[in-house]
Symmetry: C2
Subunit: 157 residues, 2 copies
């Protein structure tokens, strides 16, 4: 059964099955948590939330599942510079609320923003198109992040 780029439309089950992945308790629990949480969860965050209820979902499984989800395009993986990866559901059941990130390098707080997002998306799409053609790339993702100091951290000097 095919495994590669399985970019479908449906939700969990169909997508998993269609790509030859099995639907397990752990995977459902992780997807469930992600869809109920407000973004930026680390593998450990997820473990701490999921493991008590599903004691036979280990940290290893969390990592493996996140990797699968990431490859399927169902989850985005971010690096906010604090030494651990963060994960976010790419699109909720009721459609995406696209946003980008504003990261405080002082306290590692991350703010989702959607201001100016339309202009950003517009520009990104043009750029993707142009770059894709020029460099012969099949672009399927992008990252925009701003780094700075939040008011609290800025005050502390």
């Amino acid at each position: 059964m095919p495994r590669g780029n399985c970019q479908g439309q449906g939700w969990w089950h169909g997508k998993f099955r269609g790509c030859g992945y099995r639907l397990t308790t752990g995977r459902e629990a992780i997807l469930d948590l992600l869809s109920k949480s407000e973004g930026h969860l680390s593998a450990e965050d997820i473990y701490i939330k999921v493991h008590p209820r599903y004691p036979n979902v280990g940290l290893t499984t969390i990592y493996r599942t996140l990797d699968v989800l990431s490859n399927l395009g169902m989850v985005y993986k971010f690096d906010f510079g604090d030494g651990r990866a963060r994960y976010e559901l790419a699109e909720g059941p009721r459609g995406a609320h696209h946003h980008h990130h504003l990261v405080c390098t002082g306290c590692n707080r991350v703010i989702d923003y959607a201001d100016f997002i339309d202009e950003e998306i517009e520009l990104l799409q043009q750029t993707e198109k142009g770059l894709g053609k020029k460099y012969n790339f099949r672009i399927n993702n992008h990252v925009i992040q701003f780094y700075g100091l939040c008011d609290k951290c800025n005050g502390k000097k």
Copy 2:
């Protein structure tokens, strides 16, 4: 002597001295290499190039120096998803050639591009301004990256 955000104009020496840092052989060697290399060097890359000529510049010093340079804003630190940080001189002696990155998730190749860069910068500046005001952030950096498959990796399926 002050250590914090020392965003000056001059080049190495002045900047270092002004911030209370000492100018050492190792630091000069690292800066020298960075200014002569085309971007995206990892700490190890730098070590391999610098250590033979300066045997008493260890990997630890490389990391520490890169950290200092990064804090001074003289070097940008990037994560291209291959598990190691990459560093780039923020601005060459003859001024910056600003660019963003196009990363192949297949072979980890990184392409610098400067197409559309003017529009990107323009939008980024507007966004920075707006976000800074709205969220009370002192923004001093940004990242734009595109991820995809280069022609070779795309062909392989």
